[in-house]
Amino acid sequence: MEPLLELLGLAKSAELLSLSPPGWGGNLLRGLVNSLQIAFGAFGFGLVIGLFGAYGKLYGGVVIRDLLAIYTTVIRAVPELVLILILYYVGTDLVNKIAQAFGYGRVEISGVFAGIWVLGIVQGAYSTEVLRGAIQAIPQGQIEAARAFGMPSLMLMRRVTIPAMMSFAVPGLANLWLIATKDTALLAIVGFSELTLETRQAAASTRAYFTFFLAAGALYMMVTLFSGAAFNRIEKWARRGQPSLRGKN
């Protein structure tokens, strides 16, 4: 009796998770795509902020350095959830004010863009620190040599600083990417239909909480494991040419 029930239970779960409309699998996958889109965008936006932030912290004037210190300290001390709410309201208010100033009516902001804006600013604080550490780890002579050859500063950044810091930055950035994918779940609270919210809606309307939350957990785990493997390859690529500590290869 027992295994038969279990089999029946699983059959029901499979039906609930099927991709076509009676099942909710399609909704979950759509949520996953939204989550990944936001995570990609926020990670990229955060990297841009982080690169400028790291340069500002290392080479900027005293005021810029202090302001950046405040930015990274505040963002890392306040819960992401609170920051998301504040930045979300500030963002929508700003966009609407600008739209009204140009004579448009209220603007509806797409969830993906709002999510990227909000999470990107949070990610920026962390990647500022990661990239700053990585740039500091570059042997100073390399940058000095490039300067001595009269390389313009943008080319120096593109040809020397960024390639040389990659191997130091990749582990930290991998960590940040994982944080970005998991932080997209917080957007569920502001009502974006990403994976966690889709899961909750599916679970609430079918009362099959375990099935859906475990399925979503499995999807997140797949993303985590796959990214882990991808970042391992990226790290290997970033370390190419460097002597391995293990002696071989």
């Binding site: 302001l67 001390a77 504040i86 500030v90 679970a203």
Partner: protein, 275 residues
């Protein structure tokens, strides 16, 4: 994360050093910030504070209470998890590794909802749970919140403690062995204290991360400081003021945690920075 957090602590030490604070550009910056604070105090609406102050204090207390309980319980869970991964046989190491990977690989919000809605919908269907002594507690939200946050902290810390246990100098353990110290005493007096000392900065950072995770339990109806601010927003339609005040509260708690862990770190002999 550990290295970036210790860098954070250092940066903060620099920022709050009084001599450093008295540079001209910093004085100007401080005046600007003081002006912004005064402007906020006068132009924004704060009249809701007296009405909600008792609720806010209760919420603040519950946030701190949840934070302390879950970090302590989570840490005690993390010790066996770390040990199992560092020296345990494969049948202990593998489950511990899987547990840590799953906890670290899925969003905490999903874990909280899985426990609360999943277990919460499962328990009422089981008769002996409903008739048990625990049922009045299991009907409330906070046991699920505490369980989820404890497991989460344990998962992250288990990984940290694995490194900490394997990082302790082997000679120390051999010396204890040579003196005929029983294994449990050796663990309690030599291995564990040294392992904890090595990762104190990381633990401080992780505790702040845990603080930042506490508002998530507001989504399962636990009343803590974050949910008080949501309630103010829902009742009065005041958006920014409660959120800003909330952010200030969290920064103060994070500051206290940083100071506490700095005190702990200064107590480590040989590395004391006080002298």
């Amino acid at each position: 994360m550990g290295t970036s957090w210790s860098a954070f602590a250092q940066g903060e030490k620099l920022m709050f050093d009084l001599r450093d604070l008295m540079k001209p550009h910093r004085i100007v910056l401080m005046l600007i910030f003081a002006a912004i604070v005064v402007w906020c105090a006068y132009t924004l609406r704060w009249d809701w504070i007296p009405t909600y102050a008792p609720l806010a204090i209760e919420g603040l207390w519950r946030t701190i209470w949840i934070l302390i309980v879950t970090t302590v319980l989570g840490f005690f869970l993390a010790i066996p998890l770390g040990l199992a991964q560092a020296i345990g046989p494969w049948y202990l190491a593998a489950p511990a590794k899987v547990f840590c990977t799953i906890i670290r690989g899925t969003p905490l919000l999903l874990q909280i909802w899985l426990l609360y809605y999943g277990l919460g919908s499962l328990f009422p269907q089981i008769p002996w749970i409903r008739s048990s002594e625990l049922w009045p507690y299991l009907r409330q939200a906070w046991p699920y919140a505490v369980l989820a946050l404890t497991l989460s902290y344990a998962g992250y810390e288990g990984e940290v403690m694995r490194g900490a246990f394997s990082g302790v100098n082997k000679g120390q353990l051999e010396a204890a062995n040579a003196f005929g110290m029983p294994r449990l005493t050796m663990f309690r007096r030599i291995w564990l204290p040294q392992a904890i000392r090595n990762v104190l900065p990381t633990l401080g950072g992780e505790t702040i991360l845990q603080l930042k995770a506490t508002p998530l339990v507001a989504t399962i109806t636990v009343v803590e400081i974050y949910s008080v601010s949501s309630r103010v927003r829902a009742d009065t339609f005041i958006v920014y003021e409660p959120l800003l005040l909330l952010a200030v509260f969290y920064m103060m708690i994070a500051g206290v945690i940083t100071l506490l862990f700095r005190r702990f770190e200064q107590q480590v002999p040989g590395r004391a920075t006080g002298k």
